[in-house]
């Protein structure tokens, strides 16, 4: 006994027969009860509590107003009654256009980075820096860019070239808002697609090349089919992100209120997030709009969360398949 304690510090003196006095379970609990685990555990709990409080508040406030009429009717009575159908329609239209623009570009960039560029070539590093940089640009700066480039430069240019200077595309419109969002979500798609392509076993590619397939044939019949779910995840995450962004579309096409639905590429549109912003800051009578406002927030939250959840589930499926 005395020789033991002389060699080992008292604190880690081994329990008799390798077992704690109170059994393993209690000893683990005891370890968790020391100050640092306790404090950090409490902080973790606080973060979870914040999430729960926010979600609970919005669900409780919005669930009552969430009726079929609310989802399918246009706002009326100065937006104190009626529904949000035009905003839902506008949001869907917006993200569909955005997806059409961002998926090909993002996937092509990922293919280039994985299968064309040498990893440490100057070109590859430049693309990497550009993508990282894009991911960090504030969304309001994208809004400014959309206005300065798409609306004022591209749109005005199209008007001068094809419409004899008449105003057609040189104004805020759904096409410009969706392209702005496409630029903003480009890094999301690139990263998700690259991740999926990285997971394809080398054997597949080598087998394809050994059969005499060219690089493009390999990409088309091996790489793309095997990374489809990853591309899908990227697309879903991009849509979820895009549907929640307001700052980039404020000056590039979103409108307070429109009596008609957008049908042409150069129409303006109503959008859920922008609708929330307008109702909560510019409404003359916040008390009266509050129930509708809560329901609108809930719809937006459900939309983005459902998409995120879908992406997470797909990702889990991809991972589990890799393990096998």
């Amino acid at each position: 006994m005395t020789t033991d304690t002389a060699v080992l510090p008292a604190r880690s003196a081994p329990a008799p027969a390798g077992r704690s006095l109170y059994g393993r379970r209690t000893s683990r609990l005891w370890r968790l009860l020391s100050p640092l685990p306790l404090a950090t555990g409490f902080l973790t709990l606080c973060v979870v509590a914040m999430l729960v409080i926010i979600l609970w508040n919005i669900v409780a406030g919005g669930i009552g107003g969430l009726t079929w009429e609310f989802l399918t009717q246009a706002p009326s009575q100065g937006m104190t009654e009626g529904g949000i159908f035009p905003a839902i329609f506008g949001t869907v239209f917006l993200v569909v256009l955005m997806t059409i623009a961002v998926i090909p570009l993002g996937v092509a960039t990922a293919i280039y980075m994985r299968h064309y560029a040498r990893p440490d070539s100057r070109m590859a590093r430049l693309v990497r820096v550009a993508v990282n940089n894009l991911a960090g640009v504030p969304s309001i700066v994208f809004g400014l860019f959309g206005l300065g480039f798409f609306v004022q430069f591209l749109g005005k240019g199209i008007d001068t070239a094809f419409f004899a200077g008449d105003l057609a595309f040189g104004q805020p419109a759904i096409i410009w808002a969706s392209l702005t969002l496409a630029v903003l979500t480009l890094p999301v798609v690139i990263v998700a697609t690259e991740e999926a392509m990285r997971a394809i076993p080398r054997d597949y590619l080598e087998a394809s090349y050994a059969l005499g397939a060219t690089r493009w044939q390999t990409i088309r019949s091996v790489v793309l089919p095997n990374s489809m779910t990853g591309i899908l995840t990227g697309g879903i995450l991009a849509v979820s992100r895009g549907a929640g962004e307001v700052a980039p579309i404020m000056f590039t096409g979103a409108a307070y209120f429109l009596p008609y639905l957008p049908t042409k590429l150069n129409d303006q549109f109503m959008e859920l997030g922008y609708h929330v912003y307008v109702l909560s800051t510019q409404s003359p009578n916040v008390e009266e709009t509050l129930p509708l406002l809560y329901s609108t927030v809930l719809v937006l939250l459900l939309l983005t969360f459902a998409l995120n959840l879908l992406a997470v589930l797909i990702r889990i499926r991809i991972r589990s398949r890799q393990v096998r």
């Binding site: 100050p35 640092l36 404090a39 902080l43 973790t44 979870v48 508040n57 693309v127 400014l144 912003y277």
Partner: protein, 303 residues
């Protein structure tokens, strides 16, 4: 086909360049155009000016008035106040949660914590802004007995909640990147789990945690909708964090829609956007430098 793909891959680079060019193009008249200079110069945006005779010089942002005033100082101060409150609020929670999930939590709990905190990141900023405007502001007003519901602290706390996931994710990755051998060596020397965490793991992962804070800071500076809705939007030159503030980002969002295209005000707002772009770019760069330092440190290359 290869050529087509290579061309498409240039899109990311092209867009980055275009952002530089087109924001710069609209911001540059503030420095070069004589017409804009009749209303505002860069000097006037930085220095305090005497607006009423006999009164001390002051910083005023008041672009729509008889004599338009374009001092950036209140906006920069506003952004700083909101962002600093946000980081001070977010850092303890985010780092605490990161330490807990990487060091102490049983594996199953950890698997649960990560996606739950990442859900916070999935809340659109306009929804967070709405929550801060309607719920949080009233709660904090009652709690602290404020005169104004919407102020720097309210916006800062909402911003803080929004940046917790970023700081958490980066910090947690850094902590988990610390090799097992460090922990085992420490525990073999007789240290407990928590003194291992405090004395060995935290210092080793410190650059990564700094990177998380830097990236959170960058996100908070650029965040628009939350501050636009929750800060009260008054451009006041004041040091109190319970006064209403107007940030750089919110200024652009609030004013650009009503501004005449090509006016001095229009160009000044793009100038503010360029400033925001450069600032977030530098902050993100700092964040990446820290990540690089962490990698070098943990792979054993002298750095």
């Amino acid at each position: 086909m290869g050529r087509l793909i290579s061309t498409a891959a240039l899109a990311a680079i092209a867009v980055t360049v275009l952002i530089f060019v087109f924001i710069g193009r609209e911001a540059l008249p503030v420095i070069t155009s004589p017409e804009v200079h009749e209303e505002v110069t860069v000097r006037k945006m930085i220095e305090p000016l005497e607006f009423r005779e006999g009164r001390p010089k002051e910083f005023v942002w008041q672009p729509v008035s008889g004599v338009p005033k374009y001092s950036l100082a209140p906006l920069v101060l506003g952004s700083l106040k909101a962002t600093i409150v946000a980081i001070l609020f977010a850092a303890p929670f985010a780092i605490g949660a990161a330490v807990f999930s990487s060091e102490f939590a049983p594996p199953k709990t950890r698997e649960l914590i990560k996606p739950v905190i990442e859900m916070l990141a999935g809340i659109p900023s306009v929804v967070m802004g709405f929550f801060a405007l309607i719920v949080l502001a009233s709660f904090l007003k009652d709690l602290f007995g404020w005169t104004f519901r919407l102020n720097a602290t309210n916006a800062g706390i909402a911003l803080g909640i929004a940046v917790i996931p970023i700081v958490y994710t980066v910090a947690e990755e850094a902590l988990r990147a610390v090799p097992r051998s460090y922990r085992e060596a420490s525990q073999a020397l007789g240290a407990s789990t928590w003194s291992t965490a405090r004395r060995v793991v935290l210092p080793a992962a410190a650059p990564g945690i700094m990177a998380g804070i830097a990236l959170g800071f960058g996100r908070a500076v650029g965040e628009t909708m939350i501050v636009l809705m929750a800060s009260g939007n008054a451009a006041i030159w004041s040091s109190s964090i319970t006064d209403s503030v107007r940030t750089l980002s919110a200024t652009i969002a609030a004013e650009l829609a009503e501004v005449v295209h090509g006016s001095a005000h229009y160009h000044v707002l793009f100038f503010v956007g360029a400033l925001l772009f450069v600032v977030t770019f530098i902050i993100n760069l700092i964040g990446e430098l820290y990540v690089g330092r962490l990698k070098r440190r943990l792979t054993g290359v002298a750095g």
